[in-house]
């Protein structure tokens, strides 16, 4: 059993309610932070912890916090990004649904560290029942003196509000989220200025993921240095992984980032192996936008080293032979899955979610979907593969926000590692409609023109 810092109490009956949460040691970090520490020393602890943003980008949280501008007389805000929408990712949902007070506790400490009095949880609109759970928890916290004016007699005021989105993946991008919080379309802003300088209502704003903010609680309780001892290298602490696809035990797991990918997939403590005793074909280890890897490159790096479930190891080899830990959305595909079809559904997703501001993304995602649709349905040509490659290259890096990259990477990786499957689809237009390419040759990365 690995160390658990976030979900250690998740199975305690009634932990969702305040009474049990408090009895189990909840809100201790607020007492420690407000009475024994000051905002600067909290930021220092978070820096020492090595905590990296758990939403997908992995940016060091302490550093992000230290960027916040502090102009005289201008309120600052903390916004919790609960717009979890990256396909394969459902960890924040689990955390909010079962441990709402853990998130609130992290929010209060973080708000104190940033000097924010009004804090918002931007939750995706579809998580409607979780909005109710959070509001109930906020009322309980308020009734017990953890929210509102003069918390613990320290003079610190903190209010937390839940803001429900309405169905838009793009609002997980922090500036689109801010626009949406202001009651507008979720169009990402051009940066600079960064939110830390001008965020919501032109005020300095920090946007952090749910899991990141929950992790502040153990960091304060145990100290940044102790937290940093868990894990390995720059992958400190624990990470929530939401595992799905063709496995025996889909679900949310907390790992300490020292276990191997093989152990994570096959051990009974985690995924419990591939469903129906089938073979592993491929995996998207960090949410749909990160590169898909064939089984061999997933379990071992290109140089034959064991691959581990952490930031560095999963990205070993760069995009040529590696992937990313990303959001921790771990999607497993068995031998019966078709890479072309899987890539098509992801391309459709990104076309649907493109906000339409930048032409490479707005037009490119539509073209990628159309071409993949054509190949999947037996009407593709070999030239279409090169055209797809060309389109994704022209999207990547050419848009205001990372949605363009997120749309380009899955297509690029599918062609990079499974070009033979695309060619088989094209060369066997009738057969490919009723049967599957299976596992042939998938282990070797195939050269594609740069």
């Amino acid at each position: 059993m690995g160390v658990k810092l976030l979900l250690d109490k998740a199975n305690v009956p009634e932990i969702r309610g305040y009474e049990v949460y408090r009895r189990e040691g909840g809100y201790r970090s607020v007492e420690k932070a407000l009475k024994e520490m000051n905002p600067e020393s909290i930021v220092e602890e978070v820096k020492k912890s090595g905590l990296r943003g758990r939403g997908g980008a992995g940016f060091p949280t302490g550093m992000k916090w230290s960027f916040i501008a502090k102009p005289e007389g201008v309120p600052r805000h903390l916004v919790c990004n609960a717009d979890e929408s990256e396909p394969g990712t459902f960890k924040d949902r689990y955390l909010m649904e079962f441990l709402p007070h853990l998130l609130l506790e992290g929010l209060i400490v973080s708000s104190f560290a940033l000097g924010a009095n009004d804090t918002y949880i931007y939750i995706r609109g579809e998580y409607a029942w979780i909005t109710d759970i959070l509001e109930e928890a906020i009322n309980e916290a308020k009734a017990n003196g953890w929210l509102g004016k003069n918390i613990l007699g320290t003079g610190f005021e903190c209010n937390i509000y839940v803001h429900r989105g309405a169905g838009a993946y793009i609002c997980g991008e922090e500036t689109a989220l801010i626009e949406s919080l202001e009651g507008k379309r979720g169009n990402p802003r051009i940066k600079p200025p960064f939110p830390a300088i001008q965020g919501v209502w032109q005020r300095p704003t920090v946007v952090n993921n749910v899991e990141t903010l929950a992790a502040i609680v153990p960091i304060i309780n145990m100290g940044g240095e102790e937290y940093a001892k868990i894990g390995i290298g720059r992958s400190t602490g624990t990470k929530l992984i939401s595992a799905c696809g063709n496995i025996n035990k889909p679900g949310v797991y907390e790992i300490d980032m020292t276990i191997s990918v093989e152990e994570f997939i096959y051990s009974d403590e985690y995924c419990g192996g591939i469903k129906g005793g089938k073979q592993l074909k491929a995996c998207i280890p960090g949410g749909s936008s990160v590169p898909i890897l064939p089984a061999n490159l997933l379990l071992k790096t290109a140089t034959g080293e064991t691959r581990y479930m952490n930031y560095e190891s999963l990205s070993d080899g760069g995009f040529a032979t590696g992937s990313m830990l990303g959001s921790g959305g771990f999607i497993v595909l068995d031998e019966d899955q078709c890479i072309v079809k899987n890539t098509l559904t992801l391309a459709r997703f990104y076309r649907h979610e493109s906000c339409g501001q930048c032409s490479p993304c707005r037009e490119g995602t539509g073209w990628m979907e159309k071409i993949l649709h054509k190949i999947e349905h037996g009407h593709g040509t070999i030239a279409d593969i090169d055209l797809l490659w060309d389109i994704q290259r022209k999207i990547e890096g050419n848009t205001i926000c990372p949605l363009g990259d997120a749309a380009a990477w899955p297509v690029a990786a599918a062609i990079r590692h499974f070009r033979d499957e695309f060619e088989w689809h094209i060369n066997n237009p009738v057969l490919s409609q009723t049967s599957n390419f299976g596992l042939q040759h998938y282990a070797d990365p195939i050269h594609v023109p740069a």
């Binding site: 309120p75 394969g88 009651g183 949310v252």
Partner: protein, 165 residues
């Protein structure tokens, strides 16, 4: 048709508006549109959007451009219950295609359509964050997960029973 919130709905709107700083009431637009959609017929006719604009002291166009951007706002009439079935990667590899085909067959409608009796609308949606519990669909406020054909049958019967009662 003109729309007016009753006292409870108005109190909820005021509670939502109070979450934001003075003068920033436009921030309450998304929550207010959810409230409006849920309070009336499950969709947002122009007159209802105009009403929301007047309540938040913003221009109608500011409401239209937002309502048309977010997938949860319905700009056309819908059935009493909307089956929003996820079709993205993780659900697809877990068998959502079969579930979608089965629902179409059982309700005799295509995606985007509403049954003649006005009870069900079928909508295909993109990832709802239930990938580990796939295949799944959202109906109203809740997620119906681990769908099988048998489960779909009982869900249809369950909702149908609420209207024939």
């Amino acid at each position: 048709m003109t729309y007016t919130f009753n006292e409870t709905q108005m109190a909820e709107l005021n509670r939502l508006v109070a979450h934001y700083p003075e003068g920033k009431q436009k921030s309450a637009l998304l929550p207010a549109l959810h409230l409006a959609q849920d309070s009336f017929d499950g969709w947002l006719p122009t007159e209802l959007m105009d009403y929301v604009a007047s309540l938040l002291h913003i221009e109608p166009i500011e409401v239209y451009e937002v309502a048309s951007f977010y997938s949860m706002f319905n700009l056309k009439p819908v059935g009493k219950f909307i089956f929003e079935v996820c079709q993205t990667g993780p659900c697809m590899i877990s068998g959502s295609d079969d579930i979608i085909a089965y629902i179409q067959q059982q309700l005799a409608i295509k995606p985007g359509e509403t049954t003649k009796d006005g009870v069900f609308t079928l909508k295909l949606v993109e990832c709802l964050g239930a990938c580990g519990y796939a295949p799944m669909m959202q109906v109203g406020k809740i997620f119906r997960e681990h769908l099988t054909k048998e489960k779909v049958d009982s869900i249809i019967a369950e909702y149908r029973a609420t209207v024939t009662k």
